[in-house]
Each structure stands twice: as C-alpha cells, then as structure tokens.
Amino acid sequence: MNTPYPAAGNGRADGRAGGHGVVAEKEFASYYDRPILKPPTWKASNIAGYLYLGGLAGASSVLAAGGELTGRPRLARASRVAAVAGVSLSLAALIEDLGRPERFVNMLRTFKPTSPMSVGTWLLSAYTPLAVAGLASDLTGRCPALGRAAGYGAALLGPAVTTYTAALLSDTAVPAWHEGHRELPFLFAGSAAATAAGFALIATPLAENGPARRAALAGTAVELVAGRLMRRRMGMIADAYELGSAGALMRAAETLAVAGAAGTLLSRRRRALAVASGAALMAASAFVRFGVFAAGVASTEDPRYTVVPQRARASAPPHHPG
C-alpha cells in the first residue's frame, strides 16, 4: 500500500450523483465551522463604490462618443461629466481603501499581466487623462479637435474600464466571485450601460435621449440575464447571492432594474418619467455591485462554499492508478 493519498477515511460519498446537496450532507466537515478563507480586507463602500463608479465612467465615455458622432451635444457633455466624475471618485475610493494610501504609486512600479489590479491601474492611468481632456476641451471650447480625439480614446478604453473589474474580482479564491467569472463581466457591462444611460436619461432632454433609452433597455436585459445565468451555473455557491444581505441587495437590484426599464419604455414623451427611470436604473446598478460584493464576502465566511465544491472535485477518483 504505497499510495500516499488513500480514499477519504470516513463517509466517502460513492453514490454522489445527486448534486451538491447530497455531497453536502454526506461529506461536509470543517474546523469548528470556521472560515477557511480570509474575508476580503476591502470596505464595501470603497470597493463596491469603485466598481460601480468605474462602470458609470467607462460606459458614459462610450455614450459621449456616440453623442459627439451623431450630433447630440447635450448627451455628449452630460456623459463626459459622468465619466470624469465617475472615474475620479472611483480612483479616490480605490486609494482610500489601501492600507498605505501614500504608496498608491507603487502600483506603477511594475506591470503585471497576471494581476488584474495592475492591468486595471494602468488602464485607468491611460483612460483618466483622456476623459478629463475630453471634458475640459468641451467645457472651455479650447482645442476642440484634440478634445474630440481624447474623447474617442476614452470611448475605446471605456468598455475595458467597465469589465476589467469583473476580472479583478474573479481572479481570487472567493467562491462567489471566482465561480462567476464567465458571467460577471457581462453583468458588469450590462449594469454599466444601464447606469450610464440612466444618468443620460436624467441629464439630457427628450430630444436627445433616444439612444440612451435603447442602451438602458439593452443594458438592463444583459444585466438581468447574466445575473440569472451566473447563479444557475454556480451550483450551491448561488446561495451566497440569494441569502442574507447579498440576497436582499440582488433582489432589490432586479426589482429596480425591471421598474426602471418599464419606465424607460414609456418615457419617450415624458421627461419626469425619464428622470425617475434613470434614477431607478442607476440605483439598480449600484445595488448589483454592492450585492456582488456582499455575496463574495458571505462566500468566504462560511466554509461550506469552499469545502463542498472542492470536496466534490477531490473525491473524484485520482488520476493516477493506486
């Protein structure tokens, strides 16, 4: 008997075809029910806020470029303002969350493709000046050609700004984030489109907000579908998104998103309704980010989310013959 890794001594679930629940009952063990993983050190207000504001910024830059190209100056300006406000506050939240904020620049001493946070920092370093230059030129009327070029540059990077944060969360051991790595970027992209469009619905007159209405509807649809798909795909880990405060946030987000989308549909000629719908969509998107954040934290606090899926993997027959 020389195999160093014998089958688990007790309660081996040989008939474990019945999905996670069965495995959970038969196989779950833990050390005094303590978490295996450390909960994120990140503060919800900072990091969920950073996710949300980054999404608002990136998608707004795309809307701004569309407004510019199609002759909708008020849509373009409002979106530029949203982009700059979003990315500034987003960066501020990120820096505030560091244990040593004065060392933020250490992020720029290296570029590491294996670290989504490194990639994201460089991305923001390229995106932010472009967004700021685009807005500054628009507001002051100086260097219009350069300003427009900067705005298009920001629009090219904007989509990446909205979705790299999903990669950042997914590349962790946090079960609710890592197991959602396929759908999370779509959830974030959809909710970013909805929130940027929501802001445009609030800030621009009816005559210019046709594209924002359609972007709001499409974004909401992607957001809702991606969220559902993600939970269906992740087995028992979906509980982290459905129970507790994360569950409450995710449900509130869905309700607000549906209400905001319905209002958007009916708002072609009603300015007040457009404003209310835009606000609902922005709130929905913020709730999504806080919900995803809370689900991640919850999935680190209960060892079941770590043990049960991993046990199912570990109890599969070893790949080398004993």
Binding site: M1, N2, P4, P6, A8, G9, N10, F28, S30, Y31, Y32, R34, P35, I36, L37, K38, P40, T41, W42, G58, V62, L63, G66, L69, T70, L98, G99, R103, N106, M107, T110, K112, T114, S115, M117, P159, T162, T163, A166, A167, D171, T172, A173, H181, L184, P185, A189, A193, P211, R214, A215, A218, V222, T306, V307, Q310, R311, R313, A314, H320
Partner: protein, 289 residues
C-alpha cells in the same frame, strides 16, 4: 504502480528556475508531520519571538479544545489546530486489540504553504510579493501598499492585513535565517520533529516513507497534503501529513491558484467589453429620425 513512478510523482518543481534564478540553492520547505505533534505550540511562540510579531487582539477563550489562537493571521504565522474525535487512533490489529483507545486528539501546526503556483504572488500589483532563491514566497514590507488583493487570492486564507499597520504579513519561512544557513525558528523549536525543514526533495521522500510506516502500523488514515505537483497549485513548499481529511483541519480539500483561469477570465471580460461597445453603437444606429 512501481516504486519508481511513485517517487517520480512526488518531485516538486524547482520553481526558482521558472522565476529566473540562474544559480540557486535547492528548493527548501517544511514537512509538517502532524502524527507526532503534541500540541505544545512551541512553534507559535518561537515564530512570534524571532519575527517579533505583535499579539493578536483581543485575547479570548474560543472553546475550541486547546486552540485559543484560532487561525493564521497577519501576526500569527504558525497556528496549531486541535481536533477531538471519538475514533480509535489506528485499526485494531486483531481480537482483543481496541485500536489504541476510542478517542483521538489531532494536532497540526499550520503555516503558509509557499505554493509552487502562488496566487498571492501572481495578483500582487506592486511586486511586493516575491519568490526567493529558496523557492519560498515573501512579502516585502517596504513595497506593499496594503491593497489586500493577495488576501482574497490566497486559497488557504493565510495572508491578512495588520489593521494598525495597513500592510499584509505572512510567514517568510524565516528568510533572514535561511540566508545564514539557519533552520527556521518553528522547526528549530519543535521538540518532536513534527516540523521538519530541508530540501523539498528529501522531505518528500521522508514523508512517503512515514506514510508507509503508519499504514503498516494500522494508521490507515495517514495521508499527505500539498505534496502533489499535479494539484491546483502544483504542490506546496510546506506540505503536511494529516490523519483526516484536510477540511477537518481547516484546510481546503482541493485548492487552486485561480490565475490558472486568467486566460478564460480575460476572454470573458473582453467579450463583455465588446458587447458593451457594440450594444451602445447599435443604440445610436437604430435611431429613426
């Protein structure tokens, strides 16, 4: 399966080469044989002393057997776990043998695994986390900006932030002692050689032999953990002999360095970004004027 393949399967990658060290000592690490641990916590104390680690506050009684430390943390780099079980230590050898009683107290000293594929090191955006010439993983405290990414990346829950300090801390495998050819403080202090330090190749051979002996003695629960280069982190520079499933000790049963999924993660993020761009473009293009 021949003896030879069994041994071949238990060699861990010389990860220093992959990092780019041309000339380096053999990969060093820990073999923690929990079957001889007596729960004295000398390792915890020696580690605190040598590394001058502050106390974890608040000090409290947990009610978890003899474990009032609770977990590895920014200021606790060795943690002894205690598990009381109603179970004989070994299988009865025949009629009249009760298998050495019907209670067993499992004790195990946990530590940073110094993974071959270390997620903490992969995700660190400042380059603060570093692979040493010994193949171990250390935090450079003068670089770390306390972003906390490594804390969420570690599949073992090893790293944590020291709140008043703002930076993360973890076991260095006594890098400062290693460069002077000294044994790490915990291994030096361990009175039963439960913690063994040395070149990983040697430790792995010793561990395989120990498992064989224990099995022959009827301790069929003995198994190695973290020794397998085919696992989700390509093996640990600090591996263990356990007497129960890993999760019983608070260890993940099948940990993975999630950077393995990074290509897929980036692909999906890129596809979502393109979807966003195309969707907004369509929202403009569909205008009936």
């Amino acid at each position: 399966m021949s003896e030879r393949t069994a041994e071949a399967a238990t060699r861990l990658p010389q990860v220093q080469e992959e990092t780019g060290y041309a000339d380096h000592p053999p990969r060093m690490g820990f073999f923690t044989d929990t079957s001889v641990c007596i729960g004295c916590k000398a390792c915890e104390v020696a580690c605190k002393e040598w590394n001058q680690l502050p106390a974890d506050d608040p000090l409290e009684f947990t009610g978890m057997s003899f474990d009032n430390t609770g977990q590895l943390s920014a200021s606790t780099w060795r943690h002894v776990a205690f598990i009381e079980q109603r179970k004989p230590m070994r299988a009865p050898t025949g009629a009249g043998d009760d298998g050495a009683g019907d209670l067993r107290l499992l004790m195990a000293s946990d530590v940073c695994k110094h993974c071959t594929d270390a997620a903490c090191l992969d995700v660190c955006p400042t380059g603060s986390l570093l692979r040493t010439e010994f193949g171990t993983v250390v935090v450079q405290e003068d670089v770390c900006n306390g972003c906390g990414y490594c804390v969420s990346a570690c599949p073992y829950g090893v790293l944590d932030k020291r709140e008043r300090d703002g930076r993360v801390w973890k076991c260095t495998l006594c890098y400062d002692r290693l460069v002077d050819d000294l044994t790490p403080a915990c291994a030096k202090a361990c009175p039963t050689e439960s913690i063994q330090y040395g070149p990983l190749d040697e430790l792995l051979e010793r561990a395989a032999a120990r498992v064989r002996d224990l099995h022959e003695d009827g301790v069929t629960d003995a198994r190695l953990y973290g020794h397998d280069p085919a696992d989700g982190v390509r093996g640990n520079g600090a591996f263990f002999l356990l007497l129960d499933r890993p999760e019983v000790y608070g260890l993940p049963p099948a940990p993975m360095d999630t950077t393995r999924d990074l290509p897929s993660i980036w692909r999906h993020a890129a596809a979502a970004a393109l979807t966003l761009a195309a969707g907004v473009a369509a929202a403009f293009a569909l205008e009936r004027r």
